[in-house]
């Protein structure tokens, strides 16, 4: 168990603490290599590559964009509501979001 956490601390982006989930979506949905995926996300967020793993910067961006923050804010978007916004922000298809939209009668 501790092994996974050690990898995350040593070399990984930090998930929803920063922008790791956003970069992961680009690898999954567009087959982007790491540098291309980071550049794409940075451009969409209007920040530099170095900022993508800066908690102090990403915290405010995530809160302002409503794409989920790591600490739980009552009433703040998380889960499918955050992913709905992430799909729109990145211009990608997230399959769970597409199902949610179809159930809600929202345009795909």
């Amino acid at each position: 168990m501790g092994m996974h956490i050690a990898h995350i601390m040593a070399s990984c982006m930090g998930g929803i603490r920063t922008s790791g989930d956003l970069v992961a979506w680009m690898q999954m949905t567009r087959k982007m290599r790491i540098h291309e995926a980071k550049a794409y996300v940075a451009e969409k967020l209007g920040v530099g590559i170095i900022d993508l793993t800066d908690e102090e910067i990403m915290r405010d961006i995530r809160k302002d964009l409503g794409i989920g923050t790591v600490t739980s804010i009552a009433g703040g978007p998380k889960g499918i509501r955050a992913k709905y916004r992430i799909a729109d922000l990145l211009g990608i298809n997230i399959r769970s979001v597409a199902l949610f939209k179809s159930q809600m009668g929202l345009p795909g």
């Binding site: 168990m1 501790g2 092994m3 996974h4 956490i5 050690a6 990898h7 995350i8 601390m9 040593a10 070399s11 990984c12 982006m13 930090g14 998930g15 929803i16 603490r17 920063t18 790791g20 989930d21 970069v23 992961a24 979506w25 690898q27 999954m28 949905t29 087959k31 982007m32 290599r33 790491i34 995926a37 590559i49 170095i50 993508l52 793993t53 800066d54 794409i67 989920g68 790591v70 739980s72 998380k78 889960g79 499918i80 955050a82 992913k83 992430i86 298809n93 997230i94 399959r95 769970s96 979001v97 597409a98 199902l99 949610f100």
Partner: protein
């Protein structure tokens, strides 16, 4: 001045080596990988950078800010609630609680769900339970949420499955019969992988992981490739991660091919190409750790293989860094000093897109 460097053996034992011994092991490791796979050795500069990572006196090392990569996993969340034989810590959490803890408390870039057996065949009869859990949890997760398991062709041979046991036929000299049995089993496996993937896709599956593909040899790997291609035909927008099980594909059959490429004996830089051809979105590579060799030797081998695979690939390459692969010591609790050195070296020198 103390010239000794504290490092690990491949079974996790702490050892003290001289700087010269560490450099010799790095050279021997990269030479071994290069010779086996027919790829370039690490350059002198890369070997020196690897030496600096290994010799760093800090207990924990890391990449520089801006160099971070993506982490995917092979059932990590199961480690929260499972027991020793699953590498688990036995905390009584539900699967949903484990997934959300991994996402929110650990800061994982992606999360996953898997059946405790972690093979696709046992999922088939309980697919509705898995689909229900997946769907419910996917409404709560923010990070990408995979469903993962191993193809595991071995479960299709008697007495566990319907096909004659190839491993029993081969020692009897019944090679043709063993090959036919593997081909028949591979057909069943592909159908099951497509069945499970399709049913989960119906409930909004965000990503599918064929983990440890090829564990029963080349027919196992072929079945996974065929399933990737079929799922991409049926559900083009389904992201698929296909990971290998070892540094070369075991030729248990010896003759099976995918898209004109014989699969037996493929090394990582060749594995990623067939995975890419099948249509997968992320390729996973796994390099064997030798328990009787040092971490400098094992890590040097792993970096050499991963660097070649990353250079050959057009899709993201994630290095498998679980117990006993890619330089991680083969033990239940891999020491954090070795884990972080493997992590840093595979990103900085192996050019992995993820772990």
């Amino acid at each position: 001045m103390n010239n000794q460097i504290v490092t690990r053996m491949g079974d996790g034992e702490r050892v003290s080596l001289s700087a010269e011994e560490v450099r010799e092991d790095i050279q021997a490791g990269t030479a071994d990988a290069a010779m086996r796979a027919g790829v370039p050795e690490l350059t002198a500069e890369e070997q020196e950078r690897l030496f600096e990572i290994i010799a760093d006196p800090s207990r924990i090392v890391s990449v520089k800010p801006g160099e971070e990569v993506i982490v995917t996993d092979d059932g990590c969340t199961m480690s929260f609630y499972s027991g020793q034989d699953g590498g688990g810590v036995g905390v009584p959490l539900s699967r949903m609680q484990a997934v959300l803890t991994y996402e929110r408390a650990c800061g994982a870039d992606s999360t996953s769900l898997g059946h405790s057996d972690y093979s696709y065949k046992p999922v088939k009869p309980i697919i509705n339970f898995e689909a229900n859990d997946y769907y419910n949890i996917s409404m709560l997760t923010t990070a990408p949420f995979f469903y993962g398991a191993q193809p595991n062709l071995g479960l299709y041979f008697q007495p566990d499955g319907p096909c004659p046991n190839a491993a029993e036929l081969m020692p009897m000299g019944k090679i043709d019969e063993a090959r036919r049995a593997q081909e028949e089993a591979a057909g069943h496996l592909t159908k099951d992988l497509v069945f499970v993937g399709s049913r989960l896709a119906d409930v909004g599956l965000e990503g599918l992981n064929f983990d440890t593909s090829g564990s029963a040899g080349d027919a196992d790997f072929m079945a996974a490739l065929q399933a990737v291609a079929e799922l991409k035909r049926k559900v083009p927008d389904l992201p698929i991660l296909m990971g290998a099980s070892g540094e070369f594909i075991l030729g248990m059959h010896g003759e099976v091919e995918y898209a004109g490429t014989r699969l037996a004996g493929l090394y990582p830089q060749e594995q990623v190409k067939v995975i890419e051809t099948a249509g997968a979105d992320i390729a996973g590579v796994a390099i064997n750790t030798a328990t009787t060799e040092s971490l400098p030797y094992n890590l040097s081998r792993a970096v050499t293989f991963v660097k070649a695979a990353s250079a050959a690939s057009n899709i993201p390459v994630h290095a498998n860094v679980g117990m006993g692969v890619c330089g991680i010591p083969m033990m239940e609790q891999p020491p954090i000093d070795s884990v972080t050195r493997v992590s840093k070296a595979l990103v900085q020198l192996g050019k992995a897109d993820g772990l």
